[in-house]
């Protein structure tokens, strides 16, 4: 007989105590900076959010020793990672899996970030092709890095996934 999963509960307001004690936002020194804001349904920043990412390496391989990161958000709701652009993964355009945890989220939201310099691969990506607000999943160029805002609710709401 299969066992029923343990239900999710919010991280609450004090998660930094247990989850942000060690920094994990720089996956590769000197790599590309990916930053952005987490915004609520009123367009206000969510300062008590935490963003985690999971990605393949530049060859499109998922590895045991690379590819996970975690960043808290500042008072403007901004998170930041320094990482390496992943290669294409098994017929998919390069992408980063993104999860957001926050007070007020009873379970995390799951999304994907794609890269703006991959127009051709993005056009052929099976997930991007199958969502109607694909633009919410593609980061924008900002200075030397990339900007990827995550809108939890309302105008321009990011596409979120279930697995």
């Amino acid at each position: 007989m299969s066992a029923e999963p343990t239900p999710s509960q919010t991280v609450g307001p004090y998660f930094s105590l247990g989850l942000l004690g060690r920094t994990a936002d720089e996956l590769v020194p000197g790599g590309v900076r990916i930053t952005g804001r987490v915004l609520d349904g009123a367009g206000e920043p969510v300062p008590d959010a935490m963003v985690e990412i999971w990605q393949a390496d530049e060859d499109g391989r998922y590895r045991a020793d690379f590819g996970w990161g975690r960043s808290g958000c500042d008072e403007k709701g901004r998170y930041s990672f320094v990482t390496r652009k992943p290669g294409p993964v098994a017929g998919q355009a390069p992408h980063v899996t993104v999860m957001v945890f926050a007070r007020g989220l009873l379970k995390p939201v799951l999304t994907r970030m794609y890269f703006p310099d991959e127009a051709e691969a993005n056009a052929a990506d099976p997930v991007l092709a199958a969502v109607d607000a694909a633009s919410t999943l593609v980061a924008q160029v900002a200075g030397n890095g990339l900007e990827f805002d995550i809108r939890l609710q309302g105008d321009g709401e990011t596409v979120f996934f279930a697995v």
Binding site: S2, A3, E4, P5, T6, P7, S8, Q9, T10, V11, G12, P13, Y14, F15, S16, L17, G18, L19, D40, G41, A42, V46, D48, E52, W54, A56, Y62, A64, D65, W68, V89, A90, Q92, H95, T97, M99, F101, R103, G104, L105, L106, K107, P108, V109, L110, P126, V127, A130, V131, D132, A133, L152, Q153, G154, E157, T158, F160, F161, A162, V163
Partner: protein, 231 residues
């Protein structure tokens, strides 16, 4: 188009649970889209012994003196839904002290801070999926969700599992807490049986004579990954 999923089906709470006020502006309104299970969904980070230090699992030995409160042991087994152990998975916990105060700048509850208690710990599961923490029983505390709102005593737990998309953050509660029926975070899990899986069991077998009460909290990780990742 990808298949859509109705929010709130299954064991997890919905995003929108209006009684928990902070969900109102943070819950996504668009339907969730069901992702195909590619390598991106089936893989996740792997942790080894280097991720934890010897005393990380013992929250009562992180300072010069001993923290105040009721010393407890929290232990259990992490499995997948086929009841196979989830080995070497990282568990991170955080909690209030015995007086219901978090060591966190945002916490304004006028209860004492315990200089000998931080309230954060971590450990890896063993080959049988078992974990064990030594800590202090956390206190209940007020919050501002509604008039006279109090959170039942709880410990926050974060788990990785075999795939990143199996990530689980939850809260473990203690048996028989009179605050359960008034707490919208606990009640956001609509199914009573599912809610009961958030409550640990007192176990005399885990209790160490003359030293600490033992509580058992088994954790089941759902999600798509059923087999360990190939190296």
């Amino acid at each position: 188009m990808l298949e859509t999923v109705r929010d709130g089906e299954g064991p997890h709470p919905p995003y929108l649970y209006p009684d928990y006020r902070s969900t109102q502006l943070r819950a996504p309104k668009r339907p969730l889209l069901l992702l195909p299970h590619t390598l991106s969904e089936l893989t996740g980070p792997v942790y080894g012994d280097e991720s934890v230090c010897e005393l990380d699992h013992d929250l009562t030995r992180q300072h010069e003196g001993e923290p105040l409160g009721e010393r407890i042991i929290v232990t259990g087994r992490v499995t997948d839904s086929a009841r196979h152990p989830v080995r070497s998975t990282l568990i991170e916990i955080w909690q209030s002290n015995a007086a219901g105060r978090y060591r966190h700048e945002v916490d304004r509850h006028p209860a004492p801070i315990d200089p000998n208690f931080t309230g954060a710990g971590r450990c890896l599961t063993d080959d049988d999926g078992r974990y064990r923490f030594v800590t202090i029983k956390p206190g209940a505390y007020p919050w501002r969700n509604h008039p006279n709102a109090w959170r039942p005593a709880h410990i926050h737990l974060s788990l990785f599992g075999r795939a990143f998309t199996n990530r689980l953050v939850t809260q473990m509660y203690f048996p028989g807490d009179p605050l359960f029926e008034f707490d919208p975070i606990f009640q956001s899990v609509r199914d009573a049986k599912a809610r009961s899986r958030l409550v640990c069991d007192f176990e005399l077998e885990q209790t160490v004579p003359e030293w600490a009460l033992g509580y058992r909290f088994d954790i089941v990780l759902g999600g798509p990954a059923e087999t360990p990742m190939e190296a």
